[in-house]
């Protein structure tokens, strides 16, 4: 039978964390499932959700919180999460040690820079609530993503929000020593939100569940291989985009895996799985933080139906 064509969109550019997708494609894991997957870069999670929801793409990789917001704003269940890749949100508040922001409480009255669509900035009320800060305790400075680390390094702002692995590396490339950086991940500061998930369009789930299952299976296999040997996985990133700095992307990949993929929860429940209780709380938390008018049900947002059997998903 001819391979099913699958249009897949990343949430962002070709970087280290995209390794499992590229690996699965290059090593023929998708092909083994009878899939012909094309991989396109994205411009952000919201864009990826929109792309899949509109039917322009079949499967995507996007922040679960963007999915929540999308579903709350335009109910209709066009997209569903099928495999929770990042068990925790990578969002974090990052500051320089010299500004003496040692605890979340020290943030009160400070200026934070972030793009207005940044997951950390949108999720800030949840972070604030968990750490007994008023939601309006900080002043926000809106900037383009690549600019926030520059402003922080120059001391124009006191802190930034961003994905920990991205911002730390960006700061280092601006001449900041790793030991000068303080990272406060949302995940370790009481925020229960999930991170990036595989999303599939409802139409695909309805019409070709086999395709979804095959994709997830192949991805799971690639993710485990990536966890086992990130050095080898990142070569696929380099192959896709020869311009990347392989060492840098390897660090980014390792940081991402360590922070968001390998967590106590995934160690016990396996990769891709979610805890229904936590999920309910996480959705509630995000809805409140984002100021959404409705709280979508967990079943609408996520289905575990396509997860491979637990043993296959287990990691050491």
């Amino acid at each position: 039978a001819p391979a099913d064509k699958v249009r897949f969109t990343l949430d962002w550019r070709i970087e280290g964390p995209a390794a499992p997708f590229l690996l699965a494609r290059d090593k023929g894991y998708f092909a083994e499932e009878g899939l012909d997957v094309s991989i396109d870069v994205g411009t952000g999670s919201a864009g990826a959700v929109t792309r899949v929801a509109s039917g322009a793409y079949d499967i995507g990789f996007a922040d679960f919180n963007a999915l929540i917001e999308y579903e709350a704003k335009t109910p209709g269940s066009r997209v569903q999460g099928v495999y929770m890749v990042y068990n925790t949100t990578p969002a974090a508040v990052i500051s320089l040690k010299k500004t003496a922001i040692n605890r979340p409480a020290d943030l009160a009255g400070k200026t934070l820079a972030a793009p207005i669509f940044d997951a950390g900035r949108k999720g800030w009320p949840a972070f604030a609530k968990s750490n007994q800060l008023a939601p309006n305790a900080v002043t926000w400075q809106t900037v383009e993503p690549a600019l926030r680390e520059t402003l922080l390094a120059r001391g124009d702002v006191d802190a930034i929000t961003g994905f920990s692995f991205t911002s730390v590396l960006n700061l280092e490339s601006r001449g900041v020593k790793p030991d000068e950086i303080r990272v406060m991940p949302y995940a370790t500061h009481g925020v229960e939100a999930y991170g990036n998930t595989l999303i599939a369009s409802s139409a695909l789930i309805r019409d070709k569940p086999k395709v979804v299952a095959g994709f997830v299976r192949a991805f799971n296999r690639a993710l485990k291989e990536t966890l086992a040997n990130p050095e080898a996985a990142v070569t696929h990133v380099k192959r896709q985009d020869p311009l990347i700095n392989e060492a840098l992307e390897l660090r980014r990949l390792k940081l991402a895996l360590a922070a968001c993929v390998v967590t106590p929860e995934t160690r016990s429940a396996g990769l891709g799985a979610v805890n229904p209780e936590r999920m309910r709380r996480a959705i509630e938390e995000t809805s409140t933080a984002y100021g959404l008018s409705s709280t979508p049900a967990a079943e609408v947002l996520y289905t575990s139906a396509f997860l491979p059997p637990k043993p296959v998903r287990m990691i050491k």
């Binding site: 919201a46 509109s54 900037v143 383009e144 600019l147």
Partner: protein, 255 residues
């Protein structure tokens, strides 16, 4: 309806027609709101957020006009220099073309770091993006001056500056006004783009903020406001053009 009235109402009618097509397309093709909101949705979004939109629009208008004013001055001066001096023409033109092929958004971060977040980078971006059409058109207008008209002044022993002021520039005015129309639209683009990169104010910020909450109707309301401001500025230059270059358009009004 008498013909002159049709002509007057034409832009409004065409606008309504386009809105109608847009509306029909949205409903008929069931285009989801998050992709392309219908005109009604945009209208409601605009009305609901009227006050903030006006505040942001004011900021954008001011930065745009600031950048545009700079562009007119620099564009005129550079255009004159390029138009009258073959050396400057050869030296500067290729570089300006090269520079203008580059998306100005790439420079905004640098500007932000130097001038801080806010109005100044937006003004500079608006300037950088909009001066080139003025240069090109003014230079072309000057270099296509009929030598016969120039000779009238030359025979009087006029200085180069006199010739410029009395013949070359008036003759190049139609070119200049044509470039203003292009330039003002680019100035809007420039300031809005700069605002999307780094600003807490302006239509660019409003659009980013709206799109981050998937409020596409508000994004399009912002776009509509920019478009409207562009039209107002155009109307203004159009008046000026009619006043200053009626002689060149004399053929158009013939019965």
């Amino acid at each position: 309806m008498p013909p002159s009235l049709i002509i007057r109402a034409a832009p409004v009618l065409l606008l309504l027609a386009l809105l109608g097509v847009w509306h029909l397309a949205c409903t008929a093709l069931a285009i989801p709101d998050f992709l392309l909101p219908s005109p009604m949705a945009v209208w409601h979004a605009g009305v609901d957020a009227f006050d903030p939109i006006m505040m942001h629009a004011q900021q954008t208008l001011l930065t745009t006009l600031g950048g545009f004013a700079l562009a007119v001055i620099v564009g005129l001066l550079l255009g004159i220099a390029v138009g009258i001096s073959p050396l400057i023409y050869r030296a500067c033109y290729p570089l300006m073309v090269g520079f203008n092929s580059i998306p100005k958004v790439a420079f905004v971060p640098v500007l932000v770091v130097w001038f801080g977040i806010g109005t100044i980078p937006a003004i500079i971006t608006a300037f950088l993006i909009s001066f080139f059409p003025i240069v090109v058109n003014v230079a072309t207008g000057l270099s296509t001056l009929e030598p016969e008209l120039e000779d009238v002044l030359r025979s009087l022993g006029a200085s180069r500056f006199d010739i410029l002021r009395k013949v070359a520039i008036p003759r190049a005015l139609p070119y200049f006004f044509a470039s203003l129309k292009v330039s003002i639209t680019l100035a809007f683009v420039g300031s809005v783009i700069a605002e999307t990169v780094a600003s807490n104010l302006g239509i660019g910020y409003l659009m980013m903020s709206a799109s981050s909450t998937m409020n596409m109707a508000l994004v399009f309301a912002g776009l509509a406001v920019i478009g409207a401001m562009g039209v107002v500025m155009y109307a203004f230059f159009s008046q000026a053009e009619q006043h200053f270059t009626a002689w060149a358009h004399r053929g158009t009004h013939a019965p």
